[in-house]
């Protein structure tokens, strides 16, 4: 069988973008052997500009350059400055866009425009970015359909925990009646520490920030917006709902006190930030889960439970974030597109 070349354009070269460069450089030979896919990255962009080489970038050199100067435009010979995502998409020769710029939940930009341009240019798209999916799911899916290109977003929902692919492939033929899950690692870490150590919310959040688990601006995580985006994407893509972020009834964890956590523990309950799509409603709120139940996952772990018509309850537990972990989900999407395009 002939080896098929697949060229990627990576927009965003932070934790996720660099993770993608890492796993592709790590797995390059293995992917050729196992899937006949010769995956190359021909363009990488960050805020400084881009590195673009139609013959494929040296990924180690790209990672080293980013590490040393913080700017991908400093990539030797092929670095360019003062270009935005749309311009990079015009300049690069690629088959599949990997969009990993920061999440914007106000208008989904610039990600949404980047994705739509790639689709209109007949390129496949993989993204880890929740913003545009939670705001305008249908627009993006319709654009993919109209242009007859593939659009995958496993990493936007569960990081390395397979959510979309579990439901679409392993549970194919099932109807998903409801979904409940712990979809945010930061809040799960904070609530787990509060239960295990008896600490208050504020110092626990601070500790999580010092450990790099919570972001400097933790607002989207602790107020439940991150989990809300994910449950919206799940309801749209797996349950056939037509919803967006504004349809979620939302309550975060910042008013959960140590007293409340301890009182719940007395009866064997844990407080967890649960996202659910159930009975036609989308909710993100702190809920009580029984210790020892499938939802009682500790630390930064995520968990999701699908209630289905044929398989009853199916639960998946996994790591919801991290550079390599998220890149693994992106890689699985890239491989499935590559395989589909060779058939």
């Amino acid at each position: 069988m002939t080896v098929k070349k697949m060229r990627l354009c990576v927009l965003g070269f932070g934790a996720v973008g660099q993770g993608v460069a890492n796993v592709i450089s790590m797995k390059h030979e293995e992917l050729i052997e196992r899937y006949n896919l010769d995956i190359q990255i021909t363009a990488i962009a960050d805020r400084s500009g881009a590195a673009i080489n139609p013959d494929g970038l040296d990924l180690q050199l790209a990672l080293d350059t980013k590490y040393e100067t913080g700017k991908i435009k400093d990539y030797p010979e092929f670095g360019v400055s003062d270009v935005d995502g749309l311009e990079v998409l015009d300049m690069a020769e690629y088959d599949c866009l990997v969009e990993a710029t920061p999440t914007n939940i106000d208008d989904g930009e610039p990600t949404q425009s980047n994705i739509l341009k790639a689709m209109n240019d007949k390129k496949d798209v993989v993204t880890s970015n929740k913003g545009p999916l939670a705001l305008n799911f249908k627009t993006l899916v319709d654009a993919a359909k109209d242009n007859d290109v593939k659009f995958r977003f496993e990493a936007s929902v569960g990081g390395a925990m397979p959510v979309i692919n579990t439901a679409r492939q392993s549970l194919a033929g099932n109807q998903i009646q409801s979904v409940q899950g712990i979809l945010n690692g930061t809040t799960n870490y904070i609530l787990s520490r509060m239960a295990n150590e008896g600490t208050e919310y504020e110092p626990t959040l601070k500790e999580a920030q010092e450990l790099g688990i919570a972001e400097t601006n933790p607002y989207q995580d602790v107020e439940g917006l991150d989990a809300a985006c994910k449950i919206v994407i799940i309801a749209n893509s797996l349950m056939g709902w037509d919803v967006s972020l504004k349809d979620v009834s939302l309550h975060g964890i910042s008013d959960i006190t140590s007293n409340a956590v301890q009182l719940a523990l007395k009866d064997g309950y844990l407080i967890k930030l649960v996202a659910e799509a159930k009975d036609g409603k989308l909710t993100v709120a702190p809920m009580l889960v029984k210790q020892g139940s499938p939802f009682a996952v500790n630390g930064t772990l995520n968990v999701i439970n699908f209630k289905t018509d044929l398989s009853d309850n199916v639960t998946v537990v996994g790591v919801g974030a991290g550079s390599i972990e998220t890149a693994s989900a992106i890689l699985s999407d890239i491989i499935s597109i590559g395989k589909a395009n060779t058939n």
Binding site: Q180, D255, V274, M287
Partner: protein
């Protein structure tokens, strides 16, 4: 005829015998008794499964007798007779106010409060209250919606069971 029952008994000696002896004296045949020691309820009771054999009249009399002993029958032939729900109410309000809210919940029809546990913060301004309610299976959702309304009206955060 045969009935499978699931009841909840306090964890003190003699509780089961107090139920089973009278049942046999009615002529009911009691078999396969299983205690779920690992699965205690919020108020520390132990679920007990057993099977009753006998005529229709004897079984009816048996069930009536058990209810008369103030014992909770959870399931009859796999059908739930009552459902318990635990939830927390929290807010930055004095204890007296949160008890007002509990009182409103207690007044709901078809909701029985089976335990209330109050935890008062250091500054006496932050209260957390854990409530366990019993409802029959078919009005569980309705009851929770009413309780949500009460909590919203009183500006309290309601944390429900998943």
């Amino acid at each position: 005829m045969r009935l499978k029952l699931l009841i909840e008994l306090p964890d003190t000696p003699g509780q089961l015998v107090n139920i089973l002896q009278p049942l046999s004296s009615f002529g009911a045949n009691v078999s396969t008794i299983i205690h779920e020691h690992d699965n205690r309820t919020a108020d520390g009771k132990i679920p007990v499964h057993f099977t009753l054999d006998g005529s229709k009249e004897i079984l009816e009399k048996g069930v009536e007798f058990i209810r008369g002993q103030d014992v909770d029958i959870v399931e009859i032939d796999g059908i739930l007779q009552k459902e318990t729900q635990t939830f927390l109410l929290l807010g930055n309000i004095p204890t007296a106010d949160i008890m007002q809210t509990v009182h409103k919940i207690d007044e709901l029809e078809d909701v029985k409060i089976s335990s209330v546990d109050l935890n008062i913060g250091n500054n006496l301004q932050e209260s957390v209250c854990k409530i366990v309610i019993e409802t029959s299976e078919n009005n569980r959702l309705e009851a929770i919606n009413f309780i949500q309304d009460i909590a919203d009206n009183d500006n309290l955060v309601l944390i429900k069971e998943i």
